[in-house]
Symmetry: C2
Subunit: 319 residues, 2 copies
């Protein structure tokens, strides 16, 4: 029996809102640029400090984000937000830098099958090709962070060995990368795995900042976030209203919803600086504007703080 | 930084399927007795060993379960399943015993508001009234377990102090009760709270077996289950297809789905003896027969083991 009665968690976590990239790109219907900008402006009012604003990929690959430049240009007055953008190659990096993006995120898969499908090359080849992007960033004083998709399980290959992730992180480190996002792209992670992999990584790479990008495909995203907190991780991605689906499971839940993650963190005393009420107002508006949510719990239930009036009549028994 | 890289969890957990009680009572449409029996028989084939089969309440209070006797009588050949039934009073207990139920569960709330609304009396009064039920059980060699609804938060009163739960457990202990189910009736628990309350309870009441009854109203049920596992708890309730809503949040998710809980536990190496494929077949059939599910993830996503064919064409970039 465990005699330690306290769950030790960090007192603060830093949330990066990813709906403008991961959420919007998952929509089949075109979202007008002004709607995107309106949502980004509403998000800025919630107190969120970081945002993945778009992806500078070829418009034919992801037409949903073909207005990347316009979106970035039109929200440049939001100086309180740290914007980052996803870039697949040097051309994308140059486009991002040209419109003033100060932080780039590289895209990489943990498995060769996923890499071949996404980037048409092996993981190692893809990663070795990052050097010119990193150089370009250095030249312009732009920070470049890494990411590892399907880090906890691959929809094509299944289990991803820990050694594979360690190798990839080592190569990132050699390239001079000091921030790495671990993505559970198709929601295959479990809390024990997250806890143990992060334990290994944080011990072995104490100079690298790891962040978590969690999808709630199998209902374990919040549990995975807690496991990460238990290993001292404080950087998390999430998406307003849970926008962002799973291409391998049509209809399945997408990214963990920002309102669910933030509310749950606050309930445990892990502060984020984000206002839950304002998040809920925004999530409702996003749901209305996009036409659906992506699996938000709080949109249905409201926060724990929202109490109900004591009923006068005897209710049905319910435990 | 935490240097312990292993998450220590029990190797086995015991699941009690509660859809036949908590799920069926939450449906507004009448479920025919033969459908109930068919679902119970399918559940028996999944390998689940315990089931909360019905509630012996007054038919006017919960007409959905007015066929309690008939249901129990018609599945008495399922000798491999340990059936338990919820009973609100001596009359209900006698009805349950008369049809051969060998385990009764008492109903109690953690807060006076919830108790007044459910049982029309204060918590302490309700609990003191249990003596004749326990006596009746002893007389017939029938085990009686306790429960505490809204143990982690009350929709009327909010926060439930740990001291309140300790008092209630002490009174249960004085009554001779050695098994207590802690219910997060309206999904207000968080993993830190679960971990810390269970740490207190298991240290203070080492002779009492605690079990967890979790609702996924705010997306934290699986995380709460993991926190309970981390405290050595091995007894969990869950409901096939997630049946069972939340009367305080219409449309919100109900009990944690058995398929989600069992799948997640197996992914972490916590065995249950239940077959996930058979659970999914049953969950799909339940969804079809009842007309909806109650927030099952696995019904949408399938298990992690269900891999996808490697695509030939380049897919859209997705992290």
């Amino acid at each position: 029996m465990n005699t330690n009665n306290k769950m030790i968690l960090p007192s603060k976590a830093i949330i990066c809102e990813v709906a403008p990239r991961d959420g919007f790109q998952a929509e089949s219907e075109w979202i007008p640029t002004e709607t995107k900008i309106d949502i980004i402006r509403q998000l800025a009012k919630t107190g969120v400090q970081s945002m993945e604003i778009t992806s500078f990929v070829h418009p034919r690959a992801i037409p949903q984000l073909k207005d990347a430049e316009e979106v970035v240009t039109q929200v440049q007055d939001l100086e309180e937000i740290k914007f980052r953008a996803l870039v697949p190659n040097v051309r994308g990096a140059q486009r991002a830098i040209d419109v003033g993006i100060k932080k780039l995120k590289l895209m990489l898969s943990a498995t060769d099958s996923h890499s071949l499908s996404n980037a048409n090359c092996l993981v190692k080849e893809a990663q070795e090709g990052f050097a010119p992007i990193i150089e370009l960033g250095e030249k312009h004083g732009v920070k470049v962070g890494g990411s590892i998709s399907v880090a906890f399980g691959c929809p094509y290959e299944g289990n991803v060995p820990e050694e594979r992730i360690i190798e990839i992180v080592e190569r990132y480190k050699k390239l001079g990368i000091s921030e790495i996002s671990l993505a559970d792209t198709s929601g295959m992670a479990n809390p024990k795995q997250v806890y143990e992999l992060l334990g290994l990584l944080t011990n072995e790479f104490s100079d690298i900042t790891f962040s978590m990008h969690l999808h709630n495909t199998r209902g374990m995203a919040f549990a995975n976030a807690v496991a990460a907190l238990q290993q001292g991780i404080v950087h998390f991605d999430s998406s307003i209203a849970g926008l962002g689906g799973c291409p391998y499971a049509p209809g399945a839940t997408g990214n963990i919803a920002t309102e669910d993650l933030v509310h749950g963190f606050h309930e445990m005393g892990v502060e984020t600086g984000i206002n839950v009420d304002q998040l809920l107002i925004t999530a409702k508006d996003v749901q209305r504007k996009i036409g659906h949510d992506g699996g938000s719990f709080l949109l249905q239930s409201g926060p724990c703080s929202e109490l109900h009036e004591k009923p006068n009549t005897q209710e049905k028994l319910n435990t």
